[in-house]
Amino acid sequence: MQIGRDELAAILAVASKRGSDYADIFIEEAHTAQVFCEQNRIERVTAGIDAGAGIRVIVGETTAYAYTNDLSLKGLKEAAEVAAAAARGQAARPSINLCRRQSSFELPIMTRPETVAVTDKVQVVEKANQAARKADPKVRQVTVSYRDIAQKVVIANSAGGWVEDERIRTNLSVIVIAMEDDRIQTGYESLGGIIGFELFEQNDPAEMAIKAARRAVRMLGARPAPAGRMPVVIAGEAGGTMVHEACGHGLEADLVQKGISVYAGKLGQEVASPLISVVDDATLPGKFGSFRFDDEGTEGQRTVLIENGVLVGYLYDYLTSRKGKVASTGNGRRESYQHKPIPRMTNTFILPGKDDPQAIIRETDRGLLVTRMGGGQVNTANGDFVFEVSDGYLISGGEIGEPVRGATLTGNGPKALALVDRVGGDLGFAIGLCGKDGQGAPVSDAQPTIRIPELVVGGIMEEDEA
């Protein structure tokens, strides 16, 4: 991408020529490499380039957006014309004086994935595949997927902001299928971050694959989860889907400003147990949701959302920050140049507390222990959420009992968080791809071991109960 200061200013001038309150350009060049293994063989190897630019013009409450794959100056000016025409601005034309910003923190990458031979990537995948297959004779199929992406971005706006940045993400996921009689179960594990190929020096792909294989096999012997309301202990190692759904989405300023959030208008109020503090932090080195600059060129930051149970902040992008008359929290993210930025989470977590995680289980007479959460969803308007339990056990008399399968937990965000009565001193992250308005964003979530005295477990009634 050979687009310098003068070209960027010229494009923004075209975008603003009919008047605008704000205009920006997001130019992206994303290089991807993937290795996919199934049926005990490398099924395919993929690589590619996706390059394009999105131009946004804001006039009053209206956003016009145009994108193109044509990154010539002519192509970019044409897209800017389309956006300018769509915006129908009658505002003043801003004078544009771009000033390049540098990041105040680094997210170091040790081994850039494009410097790694395809055969080395294949080797990581094969290592995981073989480990999972050797883990147990009941393993019938193993799917291993490796992906790295190097996304170069140039972002400039009519307020003078201009950044050039690169985000390198590497990740590996394993799905193991185990079979016994005609029962099939699956185990899933993934790892990844804003990190290079050193990911696999810090994490052993074989270890992760074995974990997935053992889970699939264990679930073959698990009984269906019970149905109904009960105490739930969510272990630190379980990931952070619950906090992501129960409060994260409801704290995104676009939903709050539209009144489609149960947390709207509750700043300064108690919205969770005093034991609960929630933070979103884009600055953590190596985490999947981290970045130096968001997709509007605002620097990534740590934002406290809930402090000792009191709501203290929301997640803002440029547009919502302007409307809310606050500063952006650097949470304006987009899937690609094809999408306009919206407020999104980065790495979101409940801060560790003081309890001993083991003691929390020991002091729970009966209930469900969740050691791995899968996907989830929330209705932000009323706060109802669900999340999948991909590894769970019954707790009986403070002891971890039988494994259970196939459960989803259902609750209400503010109600569930208000009930939390124990918070452990541990913290465990898991990665995910969060979907909102048709856009995917890499995120990570975490929480310490916590206990919620009552959540609805979506399980199966025993025959004699029915």
Binding site: V45, T408, T410, V456, I460
Partner: protein, 445 residues
């Protein structure tokens, strides 16, 4: 007539050395418009045009893929080289194959009027949707983006076996999400419509339906855990079918990832259940003359009165089973691998309306919304999803219910369908009528 994308695919194929290896070029261009309206004002207007190229190389049974959005000759040559190099790292598989050319029917999927309709008319449609929702009931307080969108697309596929096809199409859609509020409670309702012609979108119907869904949920309470008959609304039933789709592909069966493995000719569902996949369905979103590797589209009966008839094949899985492809080679985009999946998959309608089915329920739940459907496991068949809807007594809705969950196994679920409604409706490329199901646990208090 040879179209631009077909010509582009042909010209890229010519850049490659196909004497020693098989090669396929997939090209797609789309032009789209999206409008979001809030309180009558345009909130977002997005216009775009994008072109992508995907290259698939099969070299001695080894599969390599590459893609690009750059159309200059140097970049296209690089992409071909990248796909060729990538193939060297893959394991050979004798069944990797490209389809040979077959006669292809012409199809009219492009409403020429779509491109002529002024943007203002399209904006007005989104405004009308919002207005209809607000007019439905004063308790409808908020509207999140009443939206209108359309896309005109063109696809080209050329391969070294002499196959060369192209087609174009267009569709438009409208959707909205509304919030109704009363006594401190907020409930959402959602609706959507999609069509291949602008005239067929009905903004009033979409707006009223979303509003009705939100309003009917006001005052929702919970339930105690029970096992009663449940009636799934068409959109919820379609969500379930969508999860089952991948398990019906031969690819999943061959890889040991399907619940339907080894069950051809067996009863896998209720006798009420007829499931059809169609690449030819008039007006269908996934309708096209060919699939994503150029194999002619067809209709495929999957379940006939509950009996499994066949699986869905692409060229790879067909070669492996020694049968013909059913035209179910699909790719998520030009960036993705060619996989297999349903086209317009749907449950065929029965002859009783939803209200007739409701009338038969003495105590049960009409499920109008589920949450977390993406967590259902198409491999094990297990599902557990959040649910909301209306509690039914004596054949009539009595009160709204939320915060419960329904769980079970999809195989049991298919067998426990006791009645199929006449109200078939498509949501994207997946369609279902209302389904009455017994034996499912509802988890609540």
């Amino acid at each position: 007539m040879t179209m631009k994308m077909q010509k582009l695919a042909q010209s890229i194929l010519k850049l490659a050395d196909t004497a020693r290896r098989d090669l396929e070029v997939y090209t797609v261009r789309h032009k789209s418009l999206q409008v979001e309206v809030s309180d009558g004002e345009v909130e977002t207007l997005r216009e775009a045009q994008a072109t992508g190229v995907g290259v698939r190389v099969i070299d001695g049974g080894r599969l390599g893929l590459a893609f690009t959005t750059r159309l200059d000759e140097g970049s296209l040559r690089d992409t071909i080289r990248l796909a060729t190099d990538n193939a060297q790292s893959a394991t050979p598989d004798e069944y990797n194959t490209l389809p040979s050319p077959k006669p292809v029917k012409d199809m009219d999927l492009l409403d020429p009027a779509m491109a002529q309709i002024p943007v203002d008319t399209k904006i007005q449609l989104a405004r009308d949707v919002e207005k209809a929702a607000r007019a439905y009931d004063p308790r409808v307080t908020k509207v999140r983006q009443a939206a209108y969108g359309d896309a005109v697309y063109e696809v080209g596929i050329s391969n070294s076996r002499g196959l060369s096809v192209g087609y174009e199409g267009a569709y438009c859609s409208t959707s909205l999400l509304v919030v109704a509020e009363a006594e401190g409670q907020a409930e959402v309702g959602w609706s959507y419509d999609l069509s291949r012609s602008f005239d067929k979108l009905d903004p009033t119907k979409v707006g009223r339906e979303a509003a009705a869904k939100a309003v009917e949920m006001l005052g929702a309470g919970t339930l105690t855990t029970c096992r009663v008959p449940i009636l799934l609304a068409p959109d919820v039933a379609a969500d379930f079918l969508d999860v089952l789709g991948p398990a019906l592909t031969a690819e999943a069966v061959q890889k040991g990832k399907s619940l339907f493995a080894g069950k051809l000719g067996e009863r896998v569902g209720s006798t009420q259940l007829n499931v059809m996949d169609s690449g030819l369905l008039p007006q269908g979103l996934a309708t096209a003359p060919v699939d994503d590797e150029g194999v002619p589209s067809q209709d495929t009966m999957l379940l006939d009165q509950g009996i499994l008839q066949t699986y869905l094949y692409n060229s790879y899985s067909a070669a492996r089973d020694g049968v013909e492809s059913t035209g179910n080679g699909v790719r998520a985009s030009f960036r993705g691998a060619l996989s297999s999946g349903p086209r317009n998959i749907h449950i065929q309608p029965g002859n009783r309306s939803q209200s007739e089915l409701l009338g038969e329920i003495s105590r049960g739940l009409l499920v109008t919304n589920v949450m977390g459907m993406h967590t259902a496991n198409p491999i094990s068949g297990e599902f557990s999803v959040g649910a909301s809807g209306l509690w039914i007594e004596g054949g009539k809705p009595i009160r709204p219910v939320r915060g419960v969950a329904i769980a079970g196994n999809l195989i049991d679920f298919l067998k426990h369908i006791v009645a199929v409604g006449s109200d078939l409706r498509f949501f994207g490329s997946v369609g279902s009528p209302s389904l009455l199901v017994e034996g499912i646990t509802i988890s609540g208090e």
